[in-house]
Chain length 349, copies 2
DNA sequence: CGATTTTTGAGGTACGCAACTAAAATTCTG
DNA sequence: CAGAATTTTAGTTGCGTACCTCAAAAATCG
């Protein structure tokens, strides 16, 4: 057995460092926090002591002494689909966790799909917030509102849906074109060698994330699976009643329909229509977001794969990024990267 | 816009609660920490004040005041495959993070595949550790060693590989039978409608995780894809030279070989043999663990899918579970559940 | 009722660090 | 080289909680 390099049983404190370096507590503090007013010679002495004792600041003590509190706003959509409901819940949980870390999250519900309403909400946001997480819309007014917040020194992260050309600090969400490509590869491979058409149902093509997914999907499908021509994209407005009718019409009109890719919500309608048609098992259906419904359709075999983004990760990641930024800590990029999950019936969490 | 219920700008402290309840600090302390010696009536009054003010203990202050430090051992394999190397690195990162949280991790490298050596290492572990994370082997001696540690009051979590019948606190890793089933479904669907045989390469059938994956794989393949009979499992001992020869032999002997599922390591050997044979694109190859190599094979198209467990999550989760247990906090099960990731060329992180 | 037990109050210390003030040491100026 | 200006350092306080002691008050019991 090879032992790991063992750290001292009790951690060194600032005071230990001060004693070892023969200077006062205050001087050590200046050095470790890179403040002005210490001679180079003294700095070197202190740093040597820090290295020798393996000093690491105790984050609990530092936070306590600093005594800052943070206040973040999460701007989420008003009453919406299952995914957004899950997300709200996860944000609430994150808020509970942050409350123990001197951070407060207020959840504001806004009609995020109306650019004017969303921009208005951002513009009139209380100046009490040091950070904002928002499900953005890539629209000039919204971008302007984000940029103004950033200009005022507020940390802004976009959540789930990005506004790439704004000055937001960070985007917490998946790479949507890649998600679309992933769906296309699954579709193409599940239908290996078969001939037929594939339908794409989006919520609305004015939503950036839906457009991007659809773009990625078509990119792969057309280049790699010429046996599977795609029908023109149809808009289901994330509404189950509408997707039910649209899906029923698709099935009726296209006897050679082999696959359906839904890059938005309204899955219950699609499931209803597919199951009613009796072609549920032969048509490959791929959609986004694991919810109580899509989970059920997956288990039942109506749905073949779910492309998912984990709302829990997203909520926590947004909070961590805001917190890290506001307390001047670095963020570790690969821990904050939101993965594109693929769920089949067999690997459901 | 509907505003979220806004918490007070400054958090309530214990003293605020004491004032509001008309009792002393000491009494509030007794109530919130569930200590003896407070009348039910007083408890109720204090709890009402806590609720009214929304008091939550400041974790930074609490940790500081409590002043406990924790010391955990992570028992990892000696020099090993890419996955284990990644895991080591992630454990090291987790250790750096924990060092700021009054926790210390020592990494011990042991030949975890020899039950006697592993058990011996656990038995002679310094009593300084409050917690141990170990890549377990499901073997009587190892189980006994784990149980003895638990009996001594040490928190033990198994990492990546479980010892289910031991008294370990928690298992941090994926559901291996489910991972095998996931691989089988991908294999079956990617080979939809085609006829041919499928080979399964394990590291060693005495490793519980490999056996479980293989079991799950066969379960689904035989019941749902009768067009794809599996060849007898072969053992590659996680060694690339050996898997190269075995794969070459498989390809030579079975002209109808359509798929390879590798539930262990040694992927470089498989890739070499597949690419040398010229059948890399037609044979569906599915394996485990995303590494620099499997990533490359995936991008190149030799490899069709990777079933992955995230070593970063596993390292952090193990540390969080140990820390939570040692400080008497609850753990949130679904945050600690390790997911079975599926990676295709398109959704690589 | 007095004696005993239970409950509560008051106060203190310690945790490790940040941030402030005041003092000491150094450098600059005429 | 005195004295002012500046840089560097020491000393101190407070953050919010945990945990401790000791005494006072209240409740309970015989």
């Amino acid at each position: 057995m090879t032992g790991g390099a063992t750290q001292p049983a009790i951690r060194a404190t600032l005071e230990d460092v001060a004693r070892a370096a023969g200077v006062s507590l205050a001087t050590v503090d200046r050095v470790v926090n890179r403040r002005e007013g210490v001679r180079a010679k003294t700095v070197a002495r202190v740093e040597a002591a820090v290295a020798k004792l393996g000093y690491r600041a105790d984050v609990a003590a530092a936070r306590l002494a600093r005594g800052q509190t943070f206040r973040f706003a999460f701007v989420l959509p008003t009453g919406s689909n299952s995914f957004m409901t899950n997300l709200s819940e996860q944000v609430q949980r994150t808020a509970d966790w942050l409350a123990g870390q001197r951070g407060f999250i207020d959840i504001l519900h806004v009609d995020v799909f109306d650019p004017d309403v969303l921009a208005g909400a951002l513009e009139t946001l209380s100046p009490a917030y040091q950070g904002v997480a928002v499900i953005a819309l890539d629209h000039p007014r919204v971008r302007a509102a984000i940029d103004e917040l950033v200009g005022r020194g507020v940390a802004v992260v976009t959540l789930v849906s990005d506004a790439p050309s704004s000055r937001r600090l960070h985007y917490v969400g998946i790479d949507n074109p890649a998600a679309g490509r992933t769906a296309a590869t699954l579709m193409g491979r599940f239908l290996a060698g078969r001939e037929g058409t594939v339908a794409v149902i989006a919520g609305s093509l004015s939503l950036r994330d839906h457009t991007e997914r659809q773009f990625g999907f078509h990119q792969i499908l057309s280049s790699e699976y010429p046996n599977l021509p795609a029908l023109p994209v149809i808009e289901g407005r994330d509404d189950s009643d509408r997707t039910r009718e649209l899906t029923a019409a698709l099935l009726a009109r296209h006897a050679d329909l082999r696959g359906i890719y839904c890059c938005g919500a309204g899955n219950r309608g699609i499931a209803d229509a597919l199951e009613a048609s009796g072609r549920a098992r032969e048509v490959v259906w791929i959609t986004h977001e694991l919810t109580q419904y899509t989970r059920r359709f997956l288990v039942r075999g109506t749905l073949d794969a779910v492309i998912n983004q984990d709302p829990g990760h997203e909520a926590r990641s947004a909070a961590r990024v805001l917190l890290a930024h506001c307390s001047g800590e670095p963020i570790s990029a690969d821990q904050e990267r939101i993965r594109i999950d693929i769920f089949l019936r067999d690997n459901l969490p």
